[in-house]
């Protein structure tokens, strides 16, 4: 095609014309060759200070006002001014149109990288990944934030900054426990209710033991149990979405306070998929920018210098230091995601016998981008790693599994990147990306409605790891403030037996 001729730009400086041309050239490759499906793009050029602004309000273009954003800004700014931290080259927002912020300091090569990475890589992922499709509403988010901002501003005018701040502080503390983790609750229906009632009866009959009938009646224990079941049914307990529970059931909250809880909850829900798809999201974007930069170079649209500059940044981004390196800070999601996706391409096009044995579904299918698009659409980090992490990548990253038991003096290497260890390493790695492993399992278990209305919250302890006591104390205080009465936290083991009961927390 004639429009494919010639360099898109020369020199390091960017301007709007070059940006537009480059975007169009990238769009052609992304849509026609890679088959990406994206929201319309909106690229916004901002300054470093505006980037800091965006950082502090969790990357969103508009946000309600809260002191914690000011705190983050102050912290980021002081690190940035001292030169201890660089700024991201871009921020991208899961909205339609998909907004990408690019910094004015970037060179044109960097802008090319950023447009390919954010405006096509992330954009495609946002639009196609099942989690994002299920949990986020890209078209509605900006309007919703506008509403949220206005609502909270209005509430501040009516009820005072302090009163609003009190609710927001508490809601923020419970934010990560303000999401529905499973597909939305179905509307309450009678048939379902009947079935549940019958189930309860059945359970009672199955567990009926005549022996109990002969016991002397002591106290009022059985009625309490019935009460409990009834209460739990009425309040929908146990409930792991604490903010939802408080919004619906906290006795003392005013309607505006409930609405604020709802706002925080909706925002938490909007970010919920991002937590679970870090590796995939970044891997996808990195894979896309890498492929596109190379294609542009092959087509003669960018010169060698530009490609080198892009690759230089790319290499920095996907750098993975070993565990014994002072720079090591955990597995780099860019590195892991990119390595896995590159390996998928290799398996599709040049499979070895090992690949055919491990990935019979797609080894050698010669349609690597369709395979990638399928993976991006239907998986999250945990399942993606469980399905697609190949022995080759484990060998390349030299992954091994460490087992650390608090009582023991030593850690044990349980498995390494060898024939016997592949599956275990892969499983353990996948599990570490499971949301259940990332966040404590906290549930509202019971409310003492007949007594002092105490709220009882359970932490289901996994692997014997308790909550951080200081943090839990502060968070409980917030929870008590919202609930309005005492709150008790019980840490229970897998069978529901209490391990540790925290002191009751009174509201202040």
């Amino acid at each position: 095609m004639p429009s494919h001729d010639g360099l898109l730009f020369t020199g390091a400086d960017w301007n709007f014309d070059k940006l537009q041309r480059t975007h169009d050239a990238i769009a052609r490759i992304a849509h026609d060759e890679l088959g990406l499906d994206t929201y319309p793009n909106q690229i916004e050029v901002i300054t470093a200070e505006q980037m800091l602004d965006a950082y502090s309000s969790i990357g969103m273009p508009l946000m309600y006002k809260h002191w914690s954003f000011g705190k983050h800004f102050a912290a980021d700014e002081s690190l940035y001014r001292k030169g201890m931290r660089g700024l991201a080259y871009e921020i991208v927002i899961n909205s339609s149109p998909c907004i990408s912020y690019v910094m004015e300091e970037n060179s044109m090569a960097m802008q090319t990288l950023v447009v390919a990475h954010a405006a096509f890589g992330h954009n495609h992922f946002f639009k196609n990944n099942a989690l994002f499709r299920q949990w986020t509403d890209a078209k509605g988010i900006l309007d919703y934030l506008e509403f949220a901002k206005g609502y909270i501003q209005h509430a501040e005018e009516r009820h005072g900054q302090r009163a609003v701040e009190r609710v927001l502080d508490a809601a923020h503390a419970l934010m990560s426990h303000g999401v529905h983790k499973y597909p939305r609750k179905r509307p309450f229906d009678l048939a379902e209710d009947k079935r549940r009632e019958k189930e309860r009866q059945d359970w009672f009959q199955q567990n009926y033991n005549d022996l109990w009938r002969t016991l002397p009646k002591g106290g009022a224990t059985p009625p309490v149990d019935e009460d409990l079941a009834e209460r739990k049914r009425a309040l929908g307990l146990p409930e792991e979405n604490i903010l939802y529970f408080l919004e619906k059931s906290a006795p003392l909250l005013a309607p505006w306070q409930r609405e604020i809880l709802r706002i925080v909850r909706n925002i938490a829900q909007y970010f919920y998929p991002q937590k679970q798809t870090k590796v995939m999201n970044e891997g996808c974007a990195t894979m896309v920018h890498y492929t596109i930069a190379n294609r542009l170079h092959e087509q003669g649209r960018i010169d060698d210098g530009t490609l080198m500059e892009i690759l230089h940044s790319h290499t920095n981004v996907v750098f993975q230091p070993g565990f014994d390196d002072p720079r090591y800070a955990g597995l780099n999601p860019y590195a892991l995601g990119f390595a896995m996706m590159q390996d998928i391409v290799r398996i599709c096009t040049q499979p070895t016998a090992e690949d055919r044995a491990w990935f019979p579904d797609f080894a050698g299918n010669n349609d690597s981008w369709a395979t990638l698009r399928h993976a991006w659409a239907d998986y999250r980090d945990e399942s993606f790693i469980l399905q697609f992490l190949s022995p080759q990548v484990m060998r390349k990253l030299r992954l091994f599994h460490l087992h650390d038991k608090a009582e023991d003096d030593d850690m044990v290497v349980k498995a390494i990147h060898d024939e016997r260890g592949y599956r275990q390493v892969r499983q353990t790695l996948a599990r570490s990306y499971d949301i259940g492993a990332l966040e404590a399992d906290i549930q509202v278990a019971d409310v003492d409605l007949s007594g002092d209305r105490r709220l009882i919250v359970h932490h289901r302890v996994a692997n014997g790891i308790l909550l951080d006591p200081a943090q839990a104390g502060h968070t409980l205080r917030h929870l008590a403030n919202l609930w309005g009465y005492k709150v008790q936290l019980v840490e229970v083991d897998e069978n529901g037996a209490p391990l540790h009961i925290c002191e009751d927390m009174e509201p202040v």
């Binding site: 909106q42 505006q50 912290a75 087992h403 016997r420």
Partner: protein, 428 residues
């Protein structure tokens, strides 16, 4: 695709968040600021300040798992020598062990929060609750300075003050009221005429239309697009403005009895006063007058650092100050502040002259006169207070204050005492 240039958008989008943050941490920040000010050297009080405050109210807690205890499984990259079954000694107890993925990113474990206050924020907190003493209001009335403020519209004025919106609105309503033909209508008419002229089959209509066009043209000439009656100008009114300049006289005894320590205390006091005045007035001049048995106006460097020998005659400094005021700082145009620092020595015979000068010449000129006695508690062999202290004590003027300062830590409290809001309001 859209490319939007946001660089020109207003900055400081998170200003409101910052203000909320500062308000929340106000107590801690205020404490940190006060502490910082007693430690740092005077010259950089006037800059921004990096401060550390305790996390107390700034925690963002959450139900997070403890960093220790239990069973943990990590997958780690970079294996060089391990095989399954190997054991590795645990790193000594500190953050950042193998697979240290559990670190709390939001400072859950941190005790202090470090950030930078801007110069204005720093000074706001530093000088919070301080107020200038009630001023002699007649000074303001005599003020010659005028400020212009908007005061409605007028039908006359200079072209630069033309109010375009009002003018065009008047013009539009007049054109509608007088039925001025619209250009579009006339163009339509002309087109119709041109068409009729071309095919020429309806001469009657043609002449009718021509007449109509003629009438419209006449009318549009008669009713102008903009008429002088439409024109409006923004009107500005001059109002007398309070004097927004001040001069600060620093008077100091530099005779041999004044030690470096005493001078440092005095300097700190002057510095605070300067910062404070600078916040309140658009323009502040400083005049340094030092004296032994004679007084001289000097620059800052000489004032604080060069030594001089001689006796102590305080009145000479007051004479010099009166002279300078007369020569350069008319009390009508300037708010005059004076701060005198001394160890309290004075030649006995001069006390009478000093007090005479102070009450008759200096105090009437000044908005405020502060006397700071620096150094160790000094009493003469009779156990009396210093000459100057006793002398000044007999003066009872509302715009005069005197305090003793023994060490650095007292400077700020004394300063606050002199200018605290309650006090200035309590005064008549």
């Amino acid at each position: 695709m859209n490319i939007i240039d946001r660089r020109l958008n207003p900055k400081g989008k998170s200003l409101a968040n910052r203000q909320r943050f500062l308000r929340r941490a106000r107590e801690q920040i205020r404490k940190a600021v006060r502490e910082a000010s007693s430690g740092r050297s005077i010259t950089d009080i006037d800059g921004g300040e990096g401060i550390s405050i305790p996390m107390d109210d700034l925690r963002e807690p959450g139900f997070r798992r403890a960093a220790e205890g239990g069973i943990r499984d990590y997958v780690v990259p970079g294996n060089k020598e391990f095989i399954a079954g190997d054991t590795i000694a645990k790193p000594p107890k500190q953050a950042g062990g193998a697979g240290g993925a559990e670190g709390s990113p939001d400072g859950g474990g941190e005790d202090a929060f470090h950030f930078v206050l801007s110069r204005d924020e720093f000074l706001d907190l530093f000088l919070e609750d301080l107020e200038l003493p009630d001023m002699d209001k007649k000074n303001l009335q005599k003020s010659e300075q005028m400020a212009f403020s908007r005061a409605g519209l007028s039908v006359t004025g200079s072209p630069s003050n033309l109010n375009l919106v009002r003018t065009m609105r008047n013009s539009l309503s007049r054109r509608i009221a007088l039925k001025r033909p619209k250009p579009a209508e006339m163009a339509e008419l002309q087109a119709a005429i041109a068409e009729l002229e071309e095919n020429g089959d309806n001469p009657e209509l043609l002449s009718e239309l021509r007449l109509e066009l003629e009438a419209q043209l006449t009318k549009s000439r008669r009713v102008p697009y903009i008429d002088p009656v439409d024109v409006r100008y923004n009107r500005f009114q001059a109002t007398p403005k309070p004097i927004s300049q001040a001069v600060m006289f620093c008077l100091m005894d530099v005779s041999g009895s004044m030690t470096e320590h005493m001078k440092d205390l005095a300097k700190r006091f002057y510095m605070l006063l300067y910062l404070f005045l600078n916040r309140r007035y658009a323009h502040v001049d400083i005049v340094f007058i030092r004296h032994t048995h004679e007084a001289k106006e000097v620059d800052e460097q000489t004032f604080f650092y060069s030594t001089e020998t001689g006796g102590t005659v305080v009145s000479t400094a007051l004479v010099e100050m009166a002279r300078i005021v007369k020569a350069r700082y008319s009390p009508h145009d300037w708010n005059i502040y004076a701060a005198q620092a001394s160890d309290g020595d004075n030649t006995n015979s001069d006390n009478g002259t000093t007090i005479g000068l102070l009450t008759s010449a200096i105090l009437p000129l000044c908005q405020y006169f502060a006397y700071i006695e620096v150094g160790a508690e000094y009493k003469d062999w009779l156990g009396r207070e210093t000459d100057l202290w006793r002398t000044y004590k007999s003066v009872a003027a509302p715009n005069m204050a005197m305090r003793k300062v023994r060490n650095r830590a007292q400077i700020f409290p004394v300063f606050r005492e002199l200018f605290s809001r309650e006090k200035s309001h309590a005064q008549p």
